[in-house]
Symmetry: C2
């Protein structure tokens, strides 16, 4: 059975990527990161979602990106709230975490080499967040090239690894519809960058705003609770 | 003052790379990894060497590559001993750690972006260990390309980052001579993959063998103790 590593953050996108990998017949290996993120709650949610899809294994890597900082998610920089769609789509937000996808994909690559996985699924998309540089197709292709050059399996021509980005050209609404079709348990997902102490979405950060808009456009009710 | 991140493992190569970065006038930011390696002693040695060169900062990132395994350095696979030079130079050894340099460089990239470093120094070389895929120039170039595509600073054309590999075409003896010239405290360095409980080099793993041969060819006495 062909194996896939799926980067799982417990959010709508990665949960849908997981569902797609399952639908495509892969044996699933989920990989999540406890990286010092403000919204550490997402790890717990990622576990619940991964369980729902019967993953073969789920690893939680601990890497302290607070030691590096430079992002609202890993330092005391405030998470922006109540931004308009125009503001959200302009430039790279302070929630960008330096080199995060490169770090995540590196670990996924290591694990892929060890277990002989043929695919790494990552739920990046360029449409809603045009600002994140490490969500673009050219970046993903560059990483794929690196993967083949930088591994034993690659050099020995035994690495048949593709970085799979099934959501890369989809809007949030399209992703939600696809997830709905594939049985993603949206009630278990978590998207907020700055959840309340009662574990609700703040409803005001970029991530909450894009999620709420996505559900609205998809004509579906978002099943999670928000503080506002 | 221009800044450089230097990947420091406490060995001969990375310590010489550190000395070269200093000689080239960079302000030094040392980065080491506690990754579950068998020879964790190297972290302590890296600290001592970094101190000698007056680094501005030294971060030790903890990442548990034992969770991933696949190498004699991060699992119970035995470290090969008493191999001939021919054996050492043939193929990729079991001490290869899957995607290690990709993981290390990813963190260095994140830190470089945050502090605005212009260079990441890595003490890779292809001559003695032709087997490690992530020590080759084509790999390094691919990473450099990725760095520019995958970062905010890269996209905004504010990343002027080079991956510096001053040792890449040098033999171990040449590296040692260069290090000697630049005042590398070789008595503080550590190379062994499988040190004894008395903190001596085993003298028999590939890394010890290449180190001893290097000192011999350089006509210098290796100042560290060996068990054999």
């Amino acid at each position: 059975m062909k194996k896939a590593i799926v980067l799982c953050s417990g959010g709508v996108d990665s949960s849908t990527a997981l569902a797609i990998a399952k639908a495509e017949g892969y044996e699933l290996y989920a990989l999540s990161f406890d990286y010092g993120q403000r919204h550490i709650l997402e790890i717990e949610k990622a576990k619940e979602v991964a369980n729902c899809f019967g993953v073969k294994d789920h690893r939680i890597m601990k890497v302290d990106l607070r030691q590096i900082g430079g992002s609202a998610l890993t330092s005391d920089i405030q998470v922006p709230k109540d931004r308009s769609e125009d503001q959200i789509s302009q430039g790279i937000p302070v929630t960008y975490v330096p080199a995060r996808n490169t770090i995540f994909l590196s670990f996924a690559l290591a694990w892929a080499e060890v277990i002989g996985a043929e695919a790494i699924f990552i739920g990046v998309n360029v449409l809603d967040y045009s600002g994140y540089p490490d969500c673009r197709p050219e970046y993903i292709h560059a990483f794929e090239r690196l993967a083949h050059l930088g591994t034993k399996a690659g050099v020995e021509k035994k690495l048949h690894l593709e970085i799979m980005t099934p959501l890369i050209q989809m809007t949030k609404a399209q992703i939600i519809r696809e997830g709905q079709k594939l049985g993603v348990p949206f009630h278990l997902t978590h998207s907020c960058y700055d959840p309340t102490s009662e574990r609700k979405g703040c409803g005001r950060c970029d991530s909450c705003i894009l999620r709420k808009k996505g559900f609205e456009e998809a004509g579906l009710k978002d099943p999670i609770p928000y503080a506002s």
